[in-house]
């Protein structure tokens, strides 16, 4: 294979070959190459296929803005990554890469038929084509769109890499280590402030890496660069970071950096993160992001071999690769002339320099002449040829607006330049305003919102001398803002390549513009024609044009296409560009892995799992678990061969017949103490607390100020000035926050202290007729006989030797106790109770049995039987309201017209006509199952279980006007059948409460 490597050019290490593969073919590159530069050195331009038309594509840039050369890279299981830009990915020994959007092969792709169907795929084609018939949607359109919309293939294996996350604080952050950034760093660093310089490339230097012929301070550019980096690198107050992209600029000078650590290494270091996200808080920011060259828009501007002139210059000077032996230059800017000169000097036969402008600097004309390069000024390009690689370009003179006779020039590369677009992405993240420069047709930075300074080509400056000087200015301004003064830094630049140019919409043509495939967004295959069509079809704002055509919506985020799209849209609308607008730049600047954003938050670190002190016992005894809020709770305890249904039925039966033991430690617990504790409780909860004596407890109900139920739980009065409040498992933090809010901001005069004690206590519930028999011998310090310790009592005592708060309460309808002991004793107490309970066949049960037993008694679960719109009356627990109290949170709302309305949804019981049918929770309820669709739904099932005690199913439901529908039959339509059920009260089991009274 012909090598396009140029001897003694470039920064790659020619003596260090690196082998890698692309689409199964082995290639050799040099250390320092990217995939793109190494393939180009092997004469390979074809690296991908377009997204919509599947046209053959090659790299058009040499940087992170690359829209075409997207490849998949892989290095073992879980380490496949799609959509990697070949122009950025460094090669290493053994790197495996593949092209995308092709089948069966890159050179012969069946999907390229779309290119022939070009007319079908014009702007808005998704919206138009897939509208009807409706029946086509599922079978035809959606699968097609899904297949077509995929760019690359998604990885399927778990990513074995890990990703790190760091914070960094500095005085001056400099983004971009080109000449402006380095000059800013030199100026700022001398004052001793902390300076961080980041650059997305593998090495620093920016445009200097592509401009070795410039002299700075008497040194060749690269020698100056080496010395400067060395000098900065030695300073203790300077940190230089390569392969580090500033992806987003957020409030108050917070910049997110993505640092790539291993993607360029042949051997993966053990335990090193693949990428690291830095959250930098900088006092001052200098943006030296440079500028991106604009493509020219003409028919066939997307063939492999057509690329930006600056890219060709970079491939030559930085990587030592000639992109072609017979290049033609097509330009509207002086900068491309230097690409022609460099290529000619490297031995390429430059076919011609075609410039759209009539008047060119004499010096450039002379230099072209000296190299024997033909120059065609005042010309346009109207077509190209070549299927897998450009073969020729058709050019025509333009005189007085008329396109003259065509001429075809053979070439193997067409290098274009449509001028330069300052990179203002990060500045735009800050919502800094942009100012339209009508002379240059570019947006420049306007009003700032953050402490930042923009330097160099990013604000439209051109030439190394101007950019260096501007960098010093920005660096100086940054340290001055921090109160430092610094000495002037001056640069003496020789052989600078300054210049200027003009910008265009589509280039003039003598052919039908409607048939031209003149691409603007290469990645999304948007053409100039699409933009004009969008305007004709009524799109007026650039944001609409963008969404209608998908221009700028690809992974390059419009870096190449935004300005060309805007110029053409504004021409079509006959409005100035600023009136048409500019699409919003959003982070990240370049595509960033999910891993970087996730950082450490994956797997078991994604969300914490709270475990009770008894959790380990449950695990050892084979419990099935379920998540409840952040807790994992024992769900049921299956014995060998038992299904969940069998286990739960057994647990229910054992509890009702003898004794069950339940880990209730997850219940939220709040200690409310202080001289005004009772007043505080009166104001917060609906219930009256003044007369509740120490040693007694009560069901407490908490409303929001809107009158809807927020939480509930049993509350014990331990002393006059101390309440032991329990909350729902999921509501603990919410309730404490609400209490704190009222205490701090509404009633700061109350002397009350709130302490979260959820994790201080382990709570074990014992329920069943044998509960007292089991417990009594273990209790010291209080008599728990029925008369001495009636239902709803609480006492401080010891249980099995552990100091405890003992409640006599029941969430099952059986005789029940809840023992609270310091969390560290929870497991020991549990084991002692299990031991002592053997004689009663004590049965550990989980949350499912707890749910069934409470539902049999009609006890509600907040958040399951209520949904934030349920009042105490709706839920049938109006008895919990202290009617004599003048005020409590939510009281006033209980008399609002909507709250006292008759047809509110009420909580009722439902018994299915067929007792074997267990309704589905969430199922909708109707009065007439034969009404036409859509049916009027009057409520839904909130809780539904098989009740072993009753030998039938039971359910609760929220039903409109439910309290007035007792004994009526309602219907629950399900797929394929309808279930009839009768409305009942919510207490299904032992309505008289006799079972609490076991002696």
């Amino acid at each position: 294979m012909t090598s396009f490597r140029v001897k003694d050019r470039g920064r790659v290490k020619a003596d260090r070959p690196v082998r890698f593969s692309f689409d199964g073919v082995a290639y050799e590159g040099c250390e320092g190459d990217t995939v793109a530069s190494a393939l180009l050195a092997n004469g390979v331009h074809l690296m991908g296929r377009g997204f919509k038309y599947h046209r053959p594509r090659g790299p058009v840039t040499a940087g992170s803005e690359e829209p075409n050369a997207l490849i998949g890279t892989s290095r073992g299981v879980g380490r496949f990554e799609p959509n990697t830009r070949a122009t950025v990915q460094e090669i290493y020994q053994g790197l495996t890469t593949e092209s995308q959007n092709k089948w069966p092969s890159l050179k012969f792709d069946v999907g390229a038929i779309n290119d022939r169907l070009y007319m079908l795929f014009s702007a808005g084609f998704y919206y138009k084509t897939f509208m009807w018939p409706r029946s086509f949607w599922d079978k035809v359109y959606e699968p097609f769109i899904r297949r077509a919309a995929g760019l690359g293939k998604a990885p399927v294996d778990v990513d074995p890499d890990h990703y790190a996350s760091r914070y960094l604080y500095c005085d001056v952050l400099i983004v971009g280590a080109g000449p402006s950034g380095l000059a800013a760093a030199l100026a700022a660093a001398q004052t001793g402030v902390n300076v961080v310089v980041v650059d997305e490339h593998a090495e620093m230097g920016g445009s200097l890496l592509s401009e070795p012929s410039v002299g700075i301070n008497g040194k060749a550019a690269w020698d100056w660069l080496e010395a400067t980096l060395d000098e900065l690198g030695r300073l203790p107050n300077v940190r230089l970071m390569t392969r580090t992209t500033a992806i987003g600029y957020y409030h108050q000078n917070m910049i997110a950096l993505c640092q790539k650590l291993t993607d360029h290494l042949a051997e993966l270091p053990t335990d090193a993160p693949r990428e690291r996200m830095w959250r930098v808080r900088a006092k001052q920011v200098v943006l030296g992001q440079g500028a991106i060259e604009r493509p020219l828009v003409f028919d066939g501007n997307d063939r492999p071999g057509v690329m930006l002139a600056s890219a060709a210059q970079t491939y030559l000077n930085r990587y030592g690769v000639k992109v072609g032996n017979r290049p033609v230059i097509l330009t509207s800017h002086d900068s491309a002339w230097y690409a022609a000169f460099d290529l000619a000097d490297a031995g390429a036969k430059v076919g011609a320099i075609v410039d759209t402008r009539n008047d060119i600097q004499a010096a450039l004309m002379q230099q072209a002449k000296a190299r024997g390069i033909e120059t065609l000024t005042g010309h346009t390009a109207t077509a190209t040829s070549g299927r897998l690689r450009v073969k020729s370009v058709r050019v025509n003179p333009v005189r007085g607006g008329r396109v003259g006779k065509a001429r075809t020039i053979d070439c193997d590369a067409l290098l274009m330049s449509g001028g330069w677009t300052p990179s203002l992405h990060l500045f735009s993240h800050t919502k800094g305003s942009l100012h339209w420069d009508a002379e240059e047709n570019v947006y420049l930075p306007g009003q700032q919102t953050e402490e930042c300074h923009i330097a160099g080509a990013g604000r439209g400056l051109w030439g190394i001398a101007a950019v260096l000087e501007d960098g010093v200015k920005a660096g100086t301004a940054a340290v001055r803002a921090l109160g430092h003064s610094c000495d002037a830094v001056r640069f003496d630049v020789s052989d600078d390549r300054t210049g200027n140019g003009v910008t265009h919409k589509e280039l003039a043509t003598d052919r039908s513009p409607g048939r031209a495939k003149a691409f603007i967004d290469f990645q999304n295959d948007v053409t100039a024609k699409d933009i004009r069509l969008a305007v004709r079809e009524g799109m007026r704002s650039i944001e609409h044009v963008k969404r209608y055509t998908t221009n700028g919506m690809a992974t390059d985020q419009g870096k190449m296409s935004n300005m060309n799209g805007l110029m053409i849209a504004s021409d079509a609308l006959q409005k100035e560009a600023p009136q048409v607008g500019l699409t919003t730049f959003r982070p990240p600047y370049t595509p960033t892995t999910f891993g970087t954003f996730a950082g450490y938050h994956k797997g078991s670190h994604f969300e914490l799992t709270r475990k009770t002190p008894i959790d380990s016992w449950a695990e050892e005894h084979g419990a099935a678990f379920e998540p409840v809020a952040l807790w994992r709770r024992a769900w049921y305890f299956p014995k060998a061969g038992e299904t969940m249904h069998m286990a739960v039925s057994r647990e229910c039966k054992a509890t009702r017949e003898s004794i069950g033991i339940f880990d209730a430690s997850t219940l939220g617990k709040i200690e409310v103490s202080g001289p005004d504790a009772v007043e505080f409780m009166n104001r917060m909860y609906t219930n009256p607390w003044t007369k509740l004596a120490p040693g007694r407890c009560r069901y407490g109900l908490l409303l929001g100020e809107d009158g809807f139920i927020r939480d509930d739980g049993v509350i014990g009065r331990m002393r006059d000035d101390l309440f032991h409040v329990t909350t729902t498992t999921g509501g603990a933090a919410r309730v404490l926050n609400m209490m704190e809010d009222y205490l701090q901001t509404e009633w700061p005069d109350l002397k009350v202290w709130l302490t979260s004690t959820t994790e201080e206590w382990a709570t074990i519930a014992l329920n069943g007729p044998n509960a007292r028999k089991l417990l009594a011998p273990l209790v010291e310090g209080v008599d728990i006989s029925a008369d001495a310790f009636p239902h709803m009592s609480v006492a401080e005592c010891t249980v099995a030797g552990f100091s405890s708060r003992l409640f006599r309460i029941s969430f099952t309808g059986e005789l029940g106790f809840e023992v609270n002991v310091p969390a560290r004793h929870g497991r020991a107490l549990w084991k002692k109770l299990m031991q002592a309970g053997r004689q009663y066949d004590i049965c550990p049960y989980g949350t499912e049995t707890m749910h069934v037993l409470r539902a049999e008694k009609g006890y509600i679960i907040i958040g399951q039987d209520t949904d934030g719109t349920v009042t105490p009356q709706d839920a049938g627990i109006g008895w919990a309201i202290g009617k004599a109290k003048p005020d409590f949170v939510g009281k006033r709302s209980l008399s609002r017209p909507d709250i006292v309305a008759r047809d509110r949804k009420h909580l009722v019981g439902l018994l299915t006509d067929d007792p074997k049918i267990v309704l589905e929770e969430g199922a909708q309820i109707v009065t007439d199952p034969n009404q036409p669709l859509p049916m009027k739904m009057i409520g839904h099932v909130t809780s539904s279980y098989w009740s072993e005690a009753l030998g039938r199913s039971i359910a609760m439901a929220l039903v409109a006007g439910g309290h007035e529908k007792m004994d009526q039959t309602l219907y629950i339509p399900m797929p394929g059948h309808t279930v009839a059920a009768k409305v009942t009260g919510t207490v299904f089991y032992d309505p008289a409460g006799e079972r609490l009274k076991v002696e």
């Binding site: 100020e705 701090q744 709302s893």
Partner: protein, 99 residues
């Protein structure tokens, strides 16, 4: 991520430590039963939804846990000032907000 000054800790700390808590200076009426349905509705639901300077409550929930008030420009998302709960809303000119 914003930096927020807690007036109790007297320290400027990352937004992660704080929780938003709605519009400020809406005191709970001392006797809600005296309010008409309309007045009570307004207290419950009607908020200023300002475009520009907005007085709002924040809580230093992962720090001192105190509630305090802040003036924030809802357009620029910038904090103009924070102050302790119970203190009157500071006078802020439009100029300051724009800045």
């Amino acid at each position: 991520m914003l930096l927020i000054h807690c007036p109790y800790c007297d320290d400027t700390l990352p937004e992660l430590e704080f929780a938003y808590a709605g519009e400020a200076h809406i005191a709970r009426p001392s006797d809600p039963s005296e309010l008409s349905d309309e007045e009570w509705r307004d207290f419950l639901f009607i908020r200023s939804n300002a475009r520009g300077v907005h007085a709002e409550r924040w809580r230093h929930i992962h720090g001192c846990a105190r509630y305090f008030n802040a003036l924030r420009d809802t357009v620029s998302d910038k904090f103009l000032r924070t102050y302790k709960a119970g203190e009157p809303r500071p006078d802020t000119s439009v100029q300051e907000a724009v800045k």
